[in-house]
Amino acid sequence: MSEKKQTCKDNIKKLKDILVAEDILVFSFETADGAACAAVYTDGMTDKALLGEQVARPLAAERAPENAKQAAKCLQVPECKEENDFTKMAEEVLAGNVALFIDGIGGALILGLKKISLRAIMEPPSSIAIKGPREGFIEDIKTNMSLLRNRLQTPKLRFYNLVAGKQSRTKIAVGYLDGIADEKTVQKIVKKIEEIDIDGIPDSSYVGKFLAERPQSLFKPTGTTEKPDVLAAKMLEGRVAILVDGSPIALTLPYLLTEDFQGAQDYFSSPYRASVSRFLRFFGVFLSVFLPAFYVSAQLFKLQLLPFSFLLTISGSIQGIPLSPGLELFFLLLVLEILIEASVRMPKYVALALSVIGALVLGDTAVKAGLVSSSAIIIMALSGIAAYTVPDLVGTVSVLRIAYVVVAGSIGTFGVLLLTALILYYLVTSDAYGSPMLAPFAPLIARDLKDTLYKASLFALDKRPKVFRGKNKTRLKRTGKKVENGQD
């Protein structure tokens, strides 16, 4: 720090020239021998009590320090560093820290006294666990990093701390387990985040869009989780975590489509139960996407698909319906999407009334009025419910099932097959960060199948997924069993 005698007033003026906003405040006080001191801070983001207790009081009781080192010794703040660059000082102040100026000392001491109101750590509403940990991430990146650190207490847990957003200056942490995550993937993610040039990053999904290798894709570009235990487990498999300040949702890369079918609870219950749950999730998504389309094409083109007695029931229920099966189901799916959109955005109490009106009154009246058939309502409801067996894929599934209904209503079963082929061609050739999205099915990685279509027992999952290409392949050593690659 420059030892040239500078007045506190000059420094404050320089800093205030940069920080002209009204909520940037200056707290002025004096040392015991009358030297002027000033703390510049952002109103509402700084712990004023600590500023008074640990900064102003000790300085007021002592003689003016001659240099920054002496000043730091006199203060009782653990996070304290010198700064001469006024632009950086301004950034620190805007981040909630305090810039302390003392007469006769050039530059400032930056004191880590940030304090903003945070919500409590609670169970995320999007991933409720019946068994297993219930804590969830919050909007503060440091809290989230500490939650992760608490679960992975190893020096191998490393973070790259980055900042993105020209105006928002959002903090981003790229976390990985050294030796377990693929180093190339980490570097590629860091590089992509460093290249982000945008005004602001309100949520981690923005970062996800910049990290996407196919930004226009219908499918998710990254994995997401709100739970530290899930994030820790994913990192132990070799994935890289991206935490964004202001967002409770952590991103993970590389992303595989199958990971959305894995639930946290699978790992805390018996493998048999978990395997049944996995099967139900796969079946649920399959049903949700294909059931409306097959219903339409069966009615339009291929009546033999339906058992005879069921065919009679359906033919009874569709008599007098003015719309074609394709249009009927298309409009019903549209109504379902509208109901979902409305119930998410409406106040809780109104949403309850809305669901009664939507599901019971509208549905029942529509059938009685002969606008839609009861079988179409059942198909729509079944498809809508089945989609929520995998909540992370609901967005994709909703779009896909509408596309399938349109195709089935226009060109029938073969159209459904062609759309499936197109999607499969897209998925099998979609690689992101070196990992194929449809792995371990295509390309087939037999070893990794143990935790996809079914869930093998904990002891069978002794190797990390091969698809992530980490150096350290073994995650579980059984007593008396020799480890193949000799790594721990």
Partner: protein, 355 residues
């Protein structure tokens, strides 16, 4: 982008290869070979198996592609001309199966939509697959195998109760000349060896790769032979009139009254595998055009797909004429391109790989 794995070639031979032989091929074979259709098929399989074996032998000895082998021996221009000819060959080879599939769609899936309308979007799928290169062939083979095994097993199980395998007797009841003609006139359904040949240099030869590939080929052959045997067992003398056989064999199972035509789900599954199989010759055709002209696949894929669509439109109701042309007139073209030229590749120089 143009890399493929030995495992994926195995899956291609075990799942995608048989899928192409289940629509019109059986009736064409029965027309000449009658109850000795298995012998005709065996002759074709032996020949095609030879090309697969030769490909593996070459792969063991060199890392070069076919293009590089020709280029190494005769120069770059010759290699480009040969690839252009092969592009034409695969374009033609793709046509008859396309028309087969179109008729299959008409007969099995629709009663009230013109097949060309239903089939037209296929060419977009095909274009998309062509742009994605050999990688998509390999990975689709990974997906196709379980689909094929499940659907094929169920359909065959549903057909078994109605099959009278005694219909295949007496063995060698048909004159040898007719059996050989049966083989010759159905040689256009045996281009899979040539397709595998074009994977040369695009996969890493690994330990026991030849055994794995040939075993998979044998598994694929066994599936086709089983299918042919059951097909003849179910339909016997009227087999010659049973086009799209795979969709006909399982429909007599009595449980359908309470379940509906559940077999249709498996037929649809198999139809999906057939879609993948149909795309492969077009993908290889586009690959040949790209190597020949030194261009990226986007434009060739669009032109080839559009040209095939145009031809399908043009020949909308001329399947029989096309079938006659391919089976009875153009068999020598298939012999030259699918067998003779790949066999001649053994004579090419396998020197240092070109940069």
């Amino acid at each position: 982008m143009d890399k493929i794995k030995v495992r994926q070639i195995c899956f291609f031979l075990a799942a995608l290869m048989p899928a192409a032989k289940m629509l019109v091929y059986p009736t064409t074979l029965v027309y000449r070979s009658k109850n000795d259709l298995l012998f005709s098929a065996l002759i074709n399989f032996a020949l095609e198996g030879g090309i697969v074996a030769l490909t593996m032998l070459l792969a063991k000895k060199t890392k070069m592609t076919f293009f590089e082998l020709i280029s190494n021996t005769f120069g770059n221009v010759t290699a480009k001309i040969v690839y252009a000819l092969f592009a034409l060959f695969f374009f033609g080879a793709a046509l008859l199966p396309l028309m087969e599939q179109k008729n299959f769609v008409m007969q099995v899936m629709y009663e009230n939509v013109p097949s060309i309308i239903a089939f037209a979007p296929f060419f977009f799928v095909c274009f998309f697959a062509c742009v994605r290169g050999f990688k998509s062939i390999g990975r689709i083979a990974d997906i196709a195998l379980p689909l094929f095994i499940l659907s094929f097993a169920v359909l065959m199980l549903l057909a078994v109760p109605h099959a009278e395998l005694g219909a295949l007797l007496p063995v060698r009841g048909v004159p040898l000349k007719e059996v050989l003609k049966g083989s010759l006139y159905s040689v256009n359904w045996y281009t899979d060896g040539a397709l595998v040949f074009f994977f040369l240099g695009h996969f890493e030869y690994e330990d026991r790769a030849a055994v794995k590939v040939l075993s998979s080929y044998a598994a694929g052959c066994a599936a086709v032979l089983l299918f042919l045997a059951l097909f003849y067992g179910v339909f016997a003398d009227i087999a010659v009139r049973q086009q799209n056989a795979i969709a006909q064999m399982s429909k007599y199972t009595t449980s359908f009254t309470s379940l509906g035509r559940v077999d249709l789900f498996f037929i649809f599954m198999l139809a999906l595998v057939m879609i993948f199989r149909l795309c492969i010759p077009v993908q290889v055709c586009v690959h040949c055009v790209c190597r020949s002209l030194g261009v990226k696949p986007l434009i060739p894929a669009a032109i080839v797909s559009a040209a095939l669509f145009g031809l399908t439109l043009f020949l909308n109701y001329s399947f029989l004429e096309l079938q006659t042309l391919f089976t009875q007139k153009l068999w020598f073209v298939f012999l030259i391109f699918a067998y003779l030229i790949p066999a001649a590749a053994l004579l090419l120089k396998r020197g240092e790989r070109r940069a």
